[in-house]
């Protein structure tokens, strides 16, 4: 897929280290898809799509390294190179779904939540953040979800998942965040015999499935056969 040049239409400051950028020209992305975003002169990185409405595609970027710092320095009207939408998407299976995120991992799950609510599904979420000032999307999630639980610091989403399951009896889990957290979500889903899907992160080089840099231990390529994998796929990685 070829790089297309798009103009940044709008920028939202989510917190001191997270911004959401909006562009046009992304053709019908699904929740879970990602974009390869090229910042001319400063690299190219994969970024999950966090919303798509009225032809405006949002992606949310946490400042962690040189390329994301360069992204944060961009202004409305600046040009970036986009390849995508790429990769697999969330199935949106289940009628009572649970989202489990850690940190910036809430980004692809926000778009999933918006779509699932539009389909009339019950949507619950447990979102873990390091500190209160790291919390993003709280207002929009509160307006959207049937229940939102936010955990901070040492208390993680896994500390509340059993209790929420007893209360809500969700039937499918979608997770994105640090891998140790997702592995524990995987264990919970397996022991509870629930379906689950995970948005997995790896260093992505080509983004086209040919270089092999992002291969998982099961031989699957995150850039092409992911980033969304279901529980069965991840058996060969976390099982």
């Amino acid at each position: 897929m070829q790089i297309q040049i798009e103009r940044i239409e709008h920028i939202v400051h989510e917190n001191e280290s997270v911004k959401t950028f909006f562009i046009r020209g992304v053709n019908d992305p699904r929740p879970g898809n990602y974009l390869m975003v090229w910042i001319p002169g400063s690299g190219q990185i994969p970024l999950s799509i966090s919303s798509f409405k009225n032809d405006l595609c949002g992606f949310t970027v946490k400042r962690v390294g040189d390329t994301t710092a360069a992204m944060h320095n961009l202004r409305v009207g600046d040009l970036i190179g986009i390849t995508g939408p790429l990769g697999t998407s969330f199935s949106i299976r289940g009628e009572r779904i649970l989202l489990v995120s850690g940190g910036i991992g809430i980004a692809p799950l926000l778009y999933l939540a918006i779509e699932a609510r539009q389909m009339g599904k019950k949507v619950y979420a447990i979102c873990g953040f390091e500190r209160a000032e790291d919390i993003i999307f709280e207002d929009v999630l509160n307006g959207l979800l049937d229940e939102l639980v936010i955990t901070l610091g040492e208390r993680t989403p896994l500390d509340v998942i059993h209790k929420l399951y007893e209360k809500r009896r969700f039937d499918h889990i979608y997770s994105c965040g640090p891998e140790p957290m997702m592995k524990r979500v995987f264990d919970f889903a397996r022991s509870s015999q629930l379906g689950a899907e995970f948005s997995v992160e790896r260093i992505i080089k080509c983004g086209m499935g040919i270089c092999g840099a992002c291969a998982l231990p099961n031989g699957m390529r995150v850039c092409k056969e992911g980033p969304v994998f279901d529980l069965e796929d991840m058996e060969g990685v976390w099982g």
């Binding site: 070829q2 040009l79 190179g81 040919i210 998982l216």
Partner: protein
């Protein structure tokens, strides 16, 4: 049922080879490709020490069939590579490590390690056009003396079968083929990517992170065919020694493989076209090649291999 067996110094069940640089970085992926129908796998190029490679964008599709890359030889280094391959359960086809380096000694040391680990055949990647950061300087395979020295160095320390991968970015590829063979190459693979560059007209900047890259994909197939033919003609005429040839460059369809075989290739590499056909390409191409051979009444590759080279020889003086 036609017989697709081929020989590049070692026997292959079919002539399709996963080319270096594509998917061959982890044991898990190699295992997957091994079950996809290829006759042999060439790994990503391995250096003595780990290399992270160049900054993204490292691979871009400029247009359908025109791919540029500047990966910069990312690899875990020979030690980790060998540990990784130990985890690979036995696969029933040859795995051919590709070796790269920055001096003839490094090539020799890595080759020795691979021989000690039990490999029988390696490919020497002396022709990656963008392996040093922002380098527009000549690579080994563009310098006759360096080509001779590197192949000699490896030949003198191992008895491995050596495939030498040649660069198309030279005036006379036959001269390089001759030098590589005389220095100890048992087979040649060609072509590596073609020196290339893309610039974006909107942001007014080079696109690849490394600026300079190499072109691959179906857009280079006819160039590869020409270079292969130049070498095959010299071999058929007896001007240079005859060794097995692995034709590489833009192969996507069964007809493409058939073309390379008509032009004297003993085996055919498949690489960038995986972007379009994914791993199914190997089974699909084998099925299509069998169909072409059945339709034409061929039972084995040697019945038509090099047929067009003989024809060209008759047409030229």
């Amino acid at each position: 049922m036609v017989d697709l067996s081929a020989d590049i110094g070692i026997p292959l069940k079919n002539p399709l080879i996963l080319t270096s640089g594509i998917l061959g970085s982890s044991a898990h992926l190699l295992k997957r490709v091994a079950s996809s129908g290829a006759g042999a796998l060439i790994t990503k190029s391995i250096t003595e020490d780990p290399r992270v490679g160049h900054e993204n964008p490292t691979v871009i599709e400029v247009s359908e069939g025109l791919i540029l890359n500047a990966m910069g030889l990312p690899n875990p280094g020979v030690d980790i590579f060998l540990n990784e391959l130990e985890t690979l359960e036995a696969v029933n086809l040859p795995i051919i490590p590709s070796v790269a380096g920055y001096s003839e000694d490094e090539f020799g040391r890595v080759a020795s390690r691979l021989e000690d680990a039990g490999f029988r055949i390696i490919e020497l990647n002396i022709s990656c056009p963008h392996s040093t950061a922002l380098s527009s300087k000549k690579v080994i395979a563009q310098d006759i003396d360096k080509t001779r020295r590197v192949v000699n160095a490896v030949r003198s320390v191992t008895s491995l079968k050596l495939i030498v991968k040649l660069s198309p970015n030279v005036t006379d590829i036959v001269e390089f083929a001759d030098v590589a063979i005389k220095a100890g190459a048992d087979a040649l693979s060609l072509i590596n990517t073609i020196e290339a560059l893309e610039v974006d007209p909107y942001v007014e900047a080079p696109v690849l992170g490394n600026v300079f890259g190499g072109q691959s994909g179906p857009s280079i197939r006819c160039i590869a065919q020409r270079k292969l033919t130049d070498i095959a003609l010299a071999m058929w005429k007896g001007e240079i020694e005859r060794v097995p040839l692995i034709g590489v460059g833009g192969v996507r369809t069964p007809k493409d493989v058939f073309r390379f075989l008509l032009l004297g290739a003993d085996a055919v590499g498949i690489g960038s076209s995986i972007l379009y056909e994914d791993l199914a390409i190997f089974e699909d191409v084998i099925e299509g090649l069998e169909q072409i051979m059945t339709d034409k009444g061929y039972d084995m590759l040697d019945e038509f291999r090099g047929k067009v080279i003989s024809q060209i020889l008759d047409m030229t003086i």
